[in-house]
Symmetry: C2
């Protein structure tokens, strides 16, 4: 997977903040059970919120449901001083 | 983000299994504190394991640490009958 190229666009963002991007892709053998991503989205957001100050205004969530592959993209911008909550 | 193109390669995988891919990118304002991804990796894997049968042999984890951007890619293959644990 060429992650470097995929994420390279984010490198041009202003330096005075942090940013976390989460991408999930779920490839299903059957066409049902497409709610796994929705569940994971909520639980992963809870995990992230434990470690970063997540401001609802600065979160972008995009879900795409296909016949066999569903994808979820979460993009979180964090002010520099809010990047660390508790290590 | 062009998720469709990025994940399109996985569409050619055999149909009798499920697959979950997780990608994280952390863009830091400073060069320290690069352990966030490691923490998130462990906690997100725990979240996923609640919902899917995750076999260690079928999990690929790749981390790349850059000066300002670190990335993490997790690729999980699940046998068809193991795709659902508890909804």
């Amino acid at each position: 997977m060429n992650l470097k190229r995929f994420f390279s666009r984010s490198a041009s963002a202003p330096a005075a903040r942090e940013r976390l991007q989460v991408l999930l892709a779920h490839e299903r053998a059957s066409s049902g059970d497409s709610d796994l991503l929705k569940t994971l989205r909520d639980e992963i957001m809870a995990v992230i919120a434990k470690h970063m100050q997540v401001d609802g205004d600065k979160v972008s969530v995009k879900m795409e449901r296909g016949a066999s592959v569903s994808t979820l993209a979460v993009d979180i911008e964090v002010p520099f001083d809010g990047g660390k909550k508790a290590a």
